[in-house]
Symmetry: C3
Subunit: 385 residues, 3 copies
């Protein structure tokens, strides 16, 4: 590893990344690195290059300078330099360049491209920001199932497992969109004990692993809602919506499909955070406007859309109240995605607000307030961090 050069001062002010994952510091070959630049879990089509994408352009724009290369360095030059520094040192520099004051980390994924990811404490140490946990509900249920509880004990055991898991967490997260889609029948109703135990019996008797059983997913989500509601203030519940990997079917990830569930959750006081949303982010914005307990997110989208980030951020701010939109990176596996997410957000927001002021759409004071809200204040208020 080369000697560590002095880091540039991190961008100020630090951003509160309300939704991301950990990273791996394993050395990655070209294919493994590229596999983390796409939502696909397949090899790229013959003749195509994952760097030739909007996200690829953004990564090449923002990351090379953190490793001492000029912006827009080629993928080859970048990967060569990354290896010369070593993955750990590169990760340290990339995370620190991101300027994240805090990371709320979904701990449901523990590996990336087949390599283990850092623990929360390792991530905090290397990245230099505070790290807090967001509990992925389905992972808790799947870990519990691995212990083969009796079906009759499932409701109680799940409640206990979730209570423990949520103990130190700042939020919960559901990936229901990946399991059945958001158009799950009767999602707005808590399943009763009998049907839950029946469903648990079937699932636990089979090859458990991945939880995709509709009744158990509903039961899991509502158990989480009830536990989140018991906290003061209530713990936010994040929901994956919109695009992601090919496990999901896109039109079944439209957040508007959650409307019945959103109405049913409203009396509990639990905030619902609609992650990503794209290409249904306008639908998410409407939900955030009309339901006080609904929030939206900038993550994944601003990174993946590369040069289009200013336009998309504009779309995200059409109907969503400015007090309901939260910055995140959704960085996963590669620290490049944390830096790119933060840089895209800062750059897009600055670009958008400059244009708005030039067009007399808002004042400098409005722009400053909006910047603070999206980057930190909204998340601090919501997650009480």
């Amino acid at each position: 590893m080369t000697a560590t050069p002095p880091l540039l001062p991190p961008p100020s002010p630090g951003l509160l990344d309300h939704h991301c994952h950990s990273v791996t510091v394993a050395e990655l070959d070209d294919a493994a690195f590229a596999s983390l630049l796409t939502e696909s879990d397949r090899p790229p089509a013959a003749g195509t290059d994952p760097f030739d994408s909007a996200l690829g352009l953004a990564v090449r724009r923002w990351c090379p300078p953190a490793l001492g290369l000029p912006a827009h360095a080629s993928a080859t030059d970048y990967l060569t330099r990354r290896r010369a520094l070593g993955a750990r040192e590169a990760t340290r520099r990339l995370l620190r360049a991101a300027g994240l004051s805090a990371l709320l980390v979904d701990t449901g994924l523990t590996s990336a491209a087949g390599r283990p990811m850092l623990s929360l404490s390792e991530l905090a140490e290397l990245g230099g920001g505070a790290v807090r946990e967001v509990v992925r509900l389905e992972s808790v249920a799947e870990r519990l199932a691995a212990h083969a509880p009796a079906a009759a004990d499932w409701p109680c055991a799940l409640r206990d497992a979730l209570t423990t898991a949520l103990g130190q967490a700042v939020g919960a997260k559901s990936v229901l969109a990946y399991r059945t889609g958001l158009d799950l029948a009767a999602l707005a109703e808590r399943p009763d004990r009998a049907e839950t135990v029946r469903a648990a019996g079937v699932w636990l008797a089979g090859s458990t692993g991945r939880l995709a059983e509709p009744v158990l997913l509903r039961h899991l989500l509502w158990t989480a809602v009830d536990l989140c509601a018991q906290r003061t203030p209530p713990l936010p519940l994040q929901l994956h919506t919109g695009f992601g990997d090919p496990d999901l079917t896109l039109h079944r990830a439209d957040p508007s499909l959650l409307t019945g569930f959103i109405r049913a959750v409203e009396p509990t006081g639990v905030p619902l955070v609609l992650l990503h949303g794209y290409p249904y982010h306008r639908q998410a914005g409407w939900l955030a406007q009309v339901f006080p307990h609904v929030y939206t997110d900038t993550g994944l989208t601003l990174s993946h859309l590369g040069p289009r980030a200013v336009d998309i951020l504009g779309e995200l701010l059409e109907l969503a109240p400015f007090g309901k939109v939260l910055f995140s990176t959704d960085g996963y596996g590669l620290p490049e995605l944390h830096l790119t997410g933060a840089a895209q957000f800062r750059h897009a927001l600055a670009g958008l607000l400059t244009a708005w002021q030039a067009a007399s759409s808002c004042t400098p004071a409005d722009a400053a307030r909006l910047t603070a809200l999206l980057g930190t204040t909204n998340a601090e208020r919501l997650y009480a961090v």
Copy 2:
């Protein structure tokens, strides 16, 4: 009330607002005023401010000058000034600054934030523009139900009530999207007398009030279509589509869901006006291109999207023929919304057409023709006003 200063000359030419509501001149406290700046009917989330929204920015941009304050005055300064002038005088100034030559008013709503709204003649007198009525179908049915007719008389009585209501009107309007959604089964077919009477029997025997009974809604809509078709030229029928208050479920308000109904109405010659549409405005534009009797609307969307109005107006003009897009404000309750709607439209259209000319996409003559079509000519032709 202070002495009335000379008003600025209204913007020229006047716009024909083909879809709006009346206003209240009651004095409003901060919360009541803010409640009319959002489609939500709930209190805002703790820590959030309804003025911190795209619509809030637009209201603060366009309205303070009409009350003698600089553009972008703070909400506090604005509301203080509004109260000093008195709500009636402020309303007079705001409406006149909007420069609306005529307002086609949906009379289905009679109060806003719990305060009564002006009658059509009061609105005309205060605002200075011609005022014509658009009849909200569901309100006619609900008023009729309050007189407890026999179920067997429902078809006849409804037809009579609608005939009377439409007598002086320039259009009809349906809010089906708020009642069952636009994906109502068999919407493309007139229900027969027997099932209508049966449904009326059930509904009239219960707590009537709000009409959400599917068969009766279909019957109502088709009765209106048939009455509209008898007029020469046929009376336009407006349909709420796209975003609105949380009574509706957004994906069930996609105007594409009306396609079967649109095909079934085509032979009657009744024009269908798809209001709002956002975020399905591109779908609405396609319907306007391929079906001669379908029209689209700019209202609500251009106001609510604030700084994004130029972009969205561009989207509205992608597939919709320029002869099929109609200006409206959808102003409701607050005269600020009428002024903001008109100013947003004028500003966005001017901005868009300036950009198109700068890019050699159209000529000055094209821009002038488009401006006249959207602002007045299309609505004059369609509503024969």
Copy 3:
């Protein structure tokens, strides 16, 4: 016909139009010409003019210079000049001005506005570019049905007819979106022989003509997939998605509805090309990112959206890998649509990439690579032409 003036050199480099139709050289009256400027198959609404549309602006921008008139000539002047030149000479000039190195032509449509269209060899001779065939599946089935085969012979006879039709073709195309919509039940499964023969019996016994029978459409599509898979490399299968004429129902043409089919086709290796897609082009982009065998298209959309082409091209490049986006014109009937499609693409891509470079979003080398990929390289790789 006037003497042929020297043509301007065609734009360089030539574009590979991977999806278009032939043209008619019949002399067209104003109404017939206008009828080809819209996806509607109805007369325009009274008082509206099909030239007053985003597509109309684009045609008036790009086509008059090819006929020796200034850009933005009026529709009247343009049509007068076109007739003075004669339709054949005008067509020759328009097609050559388009600068298409090759045209992959869907041969399913043989007339436009009631007039016959040129054969492939006539089109190649007049237009000056290479012409290759894309076979429209439904047309093959309908031609076969006209010979009244026995139902029991349908599977075999269809397979033979498709094998013959695909012999010299570079691709196949399905218009399932126009027949049942893309949300066809069980589309992801090959129907078995018994149900196919049963469905063929019903269809062949009735008034055949247009094939809209769900089981036969599934069988047709899967027969084509299996035949395409036998080629080396596998033959691409194009699917109409998104907007088109009023035969389709827009929300049933969302390419996301194909996800189950896409997953089922993946093991065969047959590339699927999602044509058009608008207003669901963002959904198409996601499918192209996550499934290696899925590709997207710029055609129809960039022409129809006129002044909005730069913005839309940006949207098309949000999630779709740059190696998966293909240029096309979808020109049909009027050679104006081929020229407009090509000019819109060139102009929008240049405008977008200039803006991206000005914003430091990419380098000149990135822009050059992207230009080559979209305009020719991707299609050459995919269709092996």
